[in-house]
């Protein structure tokens, strides 16, 4: 049994303008000790998916209208707020995008770590302090014992994200959800934080969900990847398979938009972009949601019937009427991607 099984999750926002289907039928599972990457552009429902798992979506206006989130067999969507509070931090922890604002500026780092420890474990302040120092050393903060009494403003962005990781790990969760953990960080710092996350994941034998819009991040860290578009999963495969044989036109376009520094596909001049913009989730396209931006749309009835998520190869799921391997004759000569 997988550690986390998300089945047909639908989280909708009931706003004055109408119903926004931020997450619309998302299913995936995370195995023990594995890392799942969720990629997609802004507003595709990545973060709302994560917040739905944690039960942290703002209600109202948001609501999980259907589907289940099974963690070790327990459906988290049916738990009471009190039961969820015991799961958060202890079983599933989450780190957020912006480390500059995710720490309370008026409390010391030590307080913020030990409070989390003492929330879930019945230990004395002394023991909690000791554990906090160990955690800070684990996330490679120099002179950890001295820095316990420091306030967050004395830490750089990268160090604060390390502190956030330390807090997330403080109660030995089995699943860590990292919502764009490196987006707000400097590129050089990004790499070290990602390395750290990966090392700690092995050390703690955790499963991880990494949410990002950076293909480079998931390529290194994830075992499996799901690509989301407009609230739906459009492609789901192992990392190698996805990068080697992308099937969905959107995934192809995403990979094609990456700058290449070496190899056969080095391009001169401007980077490739995906034309158009993501659909308005208040009124998404009736059938395939990517159709308005898809270069293969229009050749048949794919703008009329919504394509199903189907297993095109073993372990490779795609939601498109025109996956790469079924395009015998490419309508356009130029093939994007690798």
């Amino acid at each position: 049994m997988a550690l986390l099984e998300v089945d047909d999750l639908r989280t909708h926002f009931f706003t004055r303008e109408g119903v926004v289907r931020a997450v619309d039928g998302v299913s995936f599972s995370v195995e023990k000790g594995k890392t799942l990457g969720i990629v997609g552009e802004s507003g595709c429902g990545k973060s709302v998916t994560a917040l739905s798992i944690m039960g942290l979506i703002p209600k109202p206006p948001a609501q999980i209208v259907s589907g289940s989130v099974k963690y070790e067999g327990r459906d988290l969507t049916r738990l009471s707020e009190r039961q969820l509070e015991d799961v958060r931090g202890r079983e599933i922890a989450m780190i957020f995008q912006d480390p500059m604002t995710s720490l309370n500026p008026t409390l010391t780092i030590g307080t913020q770590i030990t409070e989390t420890i003492r929330r879930h474990y019945d230990v004395s302040q002394k023991q909690a302090d000791k554990k906090a120092v160990e955690l800070l050393e684990k996330v490679r903060i120099p002179r950890a014992a001295e820095r316990l009494g420091d306030y967050p403003h004395r830490f750089s962005g990268g160090m604060r994200q390390r502190v956030m990781i330390a807090i997330a790990l403080s109660c030995d969760p089995k699943l860590l959800i990292a919502d764009e953990p490196t987006t707000a960080l400097d590129v050089t710092v990004q790499a070290s934080v990602l390395d750290l996350l990966d090392d700690l994941r092995h050390e703690y034998d955790m499963s991880m969900i990494i949410i990002t819009h950076d293909m480079g991040v998931v390529a290194e860290a994830a075992d499996d990847i799901i690509v989301m578009y407009a609230g739906q999963v459009v492609e789901h495969a192992t990392t190698l398979e996805l990068f080697d044989n992308p099937e969905h036109p959107y995934t192809e376009a995403l990979l094609g938009a990456l700058p290449q520094l070496e190899g056969a596909n080095v391009r001169e001049g401007r980077l490739t972009a995906i034309p158009g913009r993501p659909p308005d989730l208040l009124a998404p396209p009736k059938a395939c949601r990517f159709a308005p931006r898809c270069r293969y749309a229009g050749s048949d009835d794919c703008t009329e019937h919504e394509p199903e998520l189907r297993e095109i190869r073993r372990g490779h799921w795609v939601r498109s009427a025109h996956p790469a391997s079924e395009r015998a004759k490419t309508p356009e000569p130029q093939q994007v991607g690798s």
Partner: protein
């Protein structure tokens, strides 16, 4: 590591080396209250007002203990005397030493002022934080109720409260003065809580399992503390004046007990022939009110540096 330089360097005229010490040594912590105190000291008016305030309060507390007279000691042989070495403020028509009596009256006035102010804050914080934290329909209901209460005039309401309770002493005065004046504090706290609860660190705290009372007590209310301290000194003058007014019109503290308002009321009878009897308590009231206002001003600059950095 030494990236965050203490903000004091520029002001204290230190070089970076002096302020930070030798390379490698830990940076000295400058905490919020030290910073606030430094900024407060730069506001000269606030320093003078704060000192005066403390002197007045100390005088009221200490003088009655060491004074050779009692404020209620009647001695008609020295009635209506002017200021002298023995009686710096003179005596009233019963021969009571005004210097001692002013201190004793000040004790009552200041006690009522602080008591009522803390009651106002307590009610306001509880009401405002519940309203803001829970939000939604409850918030809406509580705020509409507050809007309705806002129509109540403060002093008439205090008078009615005193009439309902039936007797007047320090404690009933506190109730009367706070019962219709906590609305603004409640609104301020609600606004703050609503702003603060949207912070990422509140969400981060929820993500590690923090319960609502912890979030409220740890992440929301401490961050309203600065505003509350300012609110104390903004609320004090209104309460001091309210107490003085009620006592002056004879509804507050009544003779022979003293409060500044009651003393001014007694002095009113002889203001032509012996004006010092009304002048002394009036000046006392006025100076405390003015001081509180200047202190509030200084605290605002000290605790919320974004408003003005002079």
């Amino acid at each position: 590591m030494a990236a965050s330089t203490p903000t004091g360097i520029r002001d204290e005229g230190l070089t970076v080396e002096q302020a930070l010490g030798a390379p490698g040594t830990p940076v000295g912590q400058s905490n919020l209250w030290k910073d606030a105190w430094r900024r407060y000291r730069r506001n000269k008016a606030a320093v003078v007002a704060g000192t005066t305030f403390l002197v007045i309060v100390l005088y009221c507390i200490v003088w009655p203990i060491i004074s050779p007279y009692s404020g209620n000691e009647v001695d008609f042989s020295i009635a209506k005397e002017g200021p002298s070495l023995a009686h710096p403020f003179g005596t009233d028509k019963f021969g009571r030493d005004l210097f001692t009596r002013t201190a004793e009256g000040g004790r009552v006035s200041i006690l009522i002022a602080f008591g009522a102010t803390f009651a106002i804050l307590a009610i306001g914080v509880v009401y405002g934080s519940i309203s803001g934290f829970v939000g939604g329909r409850l918030d809406n209901g509580m705020m509409r109720f507050l809007d309705a209460l806002y129509g109540l005039p403060y002093l008439p309401f205090a008078i009615i409260t005193l009439a309902i309770i039936g007797h007047t002493d320090k404690w009933t005065m506190m109730i009367a003065l706070s019962i219709a004046s906590w609305f603004t504090t409640a609104r301020i706290v609600r606004g703050q809580v609503i702003t603060l609860k949207e912070n990422d660190y509140v969400r981060a705290a929820k993500a590690v399992g923090a319960r609502w009372y912890r979030i409220l007590a740890r992440h929301l209310l401490p961050n309203t503390l600065g505003i509350l301290i300012i609110a104390i000194f903004l609320e004090l003058p209104a309460v001091i004046l309210g107490e003085a007014f009620l006592s002056f019109i004879g509804l507050g503290i009544s003779p022979p007990d003293a409060s500044w308002g009651a003393m001014a009321q007694e002095g009113r009878a002889t203001y032509r022939t012996h004006p010092i009897e009304i002048v002394v308590p009036s000046i006392a009231i006025a100076s405390l009110v003015i001081c509180a206002n200047f202190i509030a001003d200084g605290l605002r600059d000290a605790l919320d540096p974004r408003t003005k950095e002079t």
